[in-house]
Structure formats: C-alpha cells, structure tokens
Subunit: 155 residues, 4 copies
C-alpha cells in the first residue's frame, strides 16, 4: 500500500549511434509521459539519451553509477546513486527495475539482460541481443512503452 | 553542470523508540523543506520516520533496500532501489549520500558511519555511536540540518 | 612477485544433465592436474561437478556463494566464500577468475560470460551460449584446458 | 558433511606500526598451525602481516581484494579474490569469515567489526575499537587463537 513510483529500467551501451540515441530518447520521453521513473546506469550513450528524453517530458530519472562520485552522472540524472561497485552495479540496475527495456547494447547490456531474466524480471528488446525467447522483441519505442503499460496493468 | 539533486543520507536502526522516531521525522521534514533528497535504507524505524517526515514536507525519498523486492520499502519511500545485496547495501547507503545524519542506531548504523568516514563523507551524529572525532555531534534535528546546509554552501 | 595461485573460473548452471556433468568433472580434474585453483559459484550442477573433478586430482577449489552460509557450498568446495550478494556475486565470479571456462548454462552463466567479457577476461566456451566471437569455442574438456595452459604461458 | 576448511578472518588497517604487525603475524601463524584458513582483505599492514605469519606455518591464505586485479594482493596471499566492489568488499570479508579477529584498525576495520556483529559473527578484539560488549577483548595473539579454537569446538 506504499506510494512507491513504478520504476522502468532502460539499458544500453555507453556509446551509441544517432539512430539508437533517438530511439532511447523517445523511450525515455514516453515512459515519463506515463509517469514511470526512468532508471539507467547513469552514464553516457543510451543511458544519457533515455534520461534526456524523460526530462524533456518532466519525468524523474535515477542513475545507478558504477563509480564513487555522483558527479559522474550525465546531466539528465536527477538522483545519482553512486555505488562504487563497478560492474557489479549491473545487478542493481536489473534488480531495482520492475521491467526493463534493452536498446542495442554491448556486453554490459547483455549481462543486465541475463541478470534480469535470472531474477524473473520482464525484458523488452529494441534492436538488442537476441538471446532468448524470454526477451520480448519490439520494433519501435512506442511498442516498447505500450508493453510496459500493459505489464503494469496486470502486476 | 548537471541538474542532480543533493542527496542526504539519514541512517539509524530498524527499530527505535518514540523519542528517536520524532527526531528522525523532524530531520526528514527539515531536509525536505530545503529540497534535499532524503536517502535511507528504506525499511522501518528511523528509516521510515525520516522518510515520513520528508513526505510531509513534499520532499523526495529514496530507499536503498537490502532485499530483492521494491515492495519491502516503507510506504513513504518514493524510489525503492532493491539491491539484493543484503548487508553490503550499507556501503551503497554511505556511498550514495553526499553527507549523512546518523540518529541513534545499532551495528548496522555503526557500519554505515564507519564506511562513510572511510569514504571521506561527512557524518553528523544525533544521539548515536561516539566513535570518533570525525563524527560531528549535534543535539537537535535543527542543528543537524543547519550543518547540512552549511556543508553544501561550501561543497 | 607474489606466490598467488592461478585461478580458473568454471561456470555453468546449477542443474545439468549427465553429459554436461561428465564434461565439467573432466575440466575440473584436468585443471587441478595442472595446479590451477578451480573457482566456481559453489553450488550444484556444473559447479559441483567441476569441483568434484578438481578434488579427485588433489586440487584446490573455491566457491563464491550467493548466500550467507558457507555450509551452502557443495561438499567438494575447500574454500567457501559466502558473499550474501545473491546474483551480484556473478560479478565476483567473473572478476576473481583470470580466465573462465563456460560449460552449457542458463541465464546466470550468460550473465557471467557477459560480465567477464566486459572486464576483458578470456572466456572459453564448451557447449555454451554462442553470443560473440569473443568466446573461444572448443569441443572437449581437453581442448578447453589446453587453451587455459596456453593463455597462462603468455600472461 | 562437506570438506570445507574453517575460515578465520583477520582484520585490521592497511598501515600499522611494528608492534601491531608482530601481533598480526603471530595470530596468522597460530591460526595456520591449527589448520584454519586465514582470510583477510588481501592488502598491506595487518592483512599482510597475518598472511605472512600463516604462510610461515605452511597455512592457506585468502585475500578479498577491493580492486579489480588479483595482482594487488600482498605476496603472502595464496587465493586472491578480486571483487571490484571497493569498500563494499568489507561486507564480504565479514560474511565469508566464520569468526573474526580484529587487530587495531581504522574506520575500515570498524565497519567490518560492525558488519560482522550485525551478521551474528563472533568478533575477537586485540587492541582494537571498544565498541560493544559483543566484541570479546583479549590481550595476546595466543588468547585470540585459543578463543577461536574454543569457538569451533562448539560450532
């Protein structure tokens, strides 16, 4: 019966091309329009684009940082959580998200997808690793966020 | 040049008496009035009282939970960060806070104070462990929050 | 100039069929014959089989456990490291191994492969996830261990 | 009914004077003579002295390192466990030890004592923080190790 906000993780690489960046930004914006908190790894690339999009829509953004310094967060993170755990922070990104949208991504993203699936979290994939039937593949940011909305209607 | 909100940790035991609870609530309320994000371990006792106080003043609250389930947070936590790290989450509480107010507390709180001091974080103590000169002892919630304000004016 | 023993991680699922178990046991045995420490997640399935094989050859075994209790380790683990980190312990398995052999496996194993690659660790795959060219695919335990030996000759 | 070795944590600061170093070395030596595995944080000071003592008696030493590189271990660590967790590794040191001997120490040691007590681990103190009745104070390395032996006779 708490008032906790619903948290959606957006995961992807720290470097990405313009197409991926535009997708991540739209995902962030649409999530914020539906009042979800956008949680990322707090750094550059997909993480920054999703956070920027969320802020454009007046949303709230959390960054789970690998390092020690909250100032390592990109400028669109409202709540920088410096963990100091380095790569082990990927497990926190997966755990703290009720559902995740994976956009493109490298090994770090793959580890987050795998950890999230291990934890029983739902993962929606947008141009990302095709590793398992358990990742729900979509084609557009709009579809990804529609799936998130549908998920929360029943959970 | 980010827009990140300033985060103040409030640490203390999961069980506390009425006097301590009232102090923690006032600390939370005063921090929120000054627009600081109130970060706690997300559970009961001091953590819940500080979060409740912050929400009374319209503030924003984060809970760094030891377990796997965001629903373990007390009802006054806006952003529940389920870490699954159990006691190792105490290091995240210390690291993610720019400055901490310790109120009473048991061994868990002591570990957070010690970790915070190790990390070079400032710790303000209100009726808590007297372990080191490095903990800045105050007598009232008002003094504790005044010290926080002073800290951020110069950091 | 330390005397530290070389550590090889053997990763794979907590449940596995007989064929996989036999392979994991042979990997463990061969690693121990070459005096490598065999590090696993300390539990059942591939982890137990690899540890059992290593002990048959008089080797030394380490288990990085997700839970709180050293007694959760399988009976072939000499050094049970209870972490209490749950799934985040996968990052420790990857980090603490200088090189890893992945045998079959589910999502947990996939997360360890991905984390290891992210950390720049070499991963040798035996009937496991085909996720990237970076995983060096082999067909037999003998080949896997030969690759490990070759790796340490040059690192 | 496993064959797991009994693990004793020895904790203390990364810098220490000669008197403390001699004590730590004797603690390590006596523990190894009784076939306990000596687990430390793997670095310098008390950690190194205890490991050196253990190796003089032919013992086995484990180092739970804060950083990414097993080569950061002192030269008397047999099994370097690189965690990459930085200060959060202190929780692993506490958790992985069945019982701990604290020798002198700074804030990091204090955090390990507090975490160990929180986890219900027994802590024996040798010239360390006097924080609680729960720490069993002894005067000599001989007494510390005698207490460890007594503990394992009943646990």
């Amino acid at each position: 019966m708490g008032m906790a906000r619903r948290i959606v993780g957006v995961i992807g690489a720290g470097e990405c091309d313009e197409t991926v960046s535009v997708m991540a930004e739209e995902v962030g914006r649409r999530l914020a329009e539906h009042h979800y908190v956008v949680l990322t790894g707090g750094r550059t690339g997909v993480m920054e684009a999703a956070s920027r999009g969320a802020k454009q829509a007046g949303g709230l953004t959390v960054g789970i940082l690998p390092g020690n310094d909250p100032q390592d967060a990109n400028p669109h993170v409202d709540i920088p959580i410096a963990t100091g755990l380095q790569d082990a922070r990927n497990a926190i990104v997966a755990r703290a998200s009720e559902i995740l949208i994976a956009i493109a991504g490298e090994y770090g993203t793959l580890s987050e997808i795998a950890l999230a699936l291990k934890m029983g979290r739902r993962v929606i994939g947008l141009g990302t690793w095709h590793i398992a039937k358990a990742v729900q593949v979509v084609e557009t940011p709009q579809q990804a966020v529609a799936d998130v909305i549908r998920y929360f209607e029943t959970h």
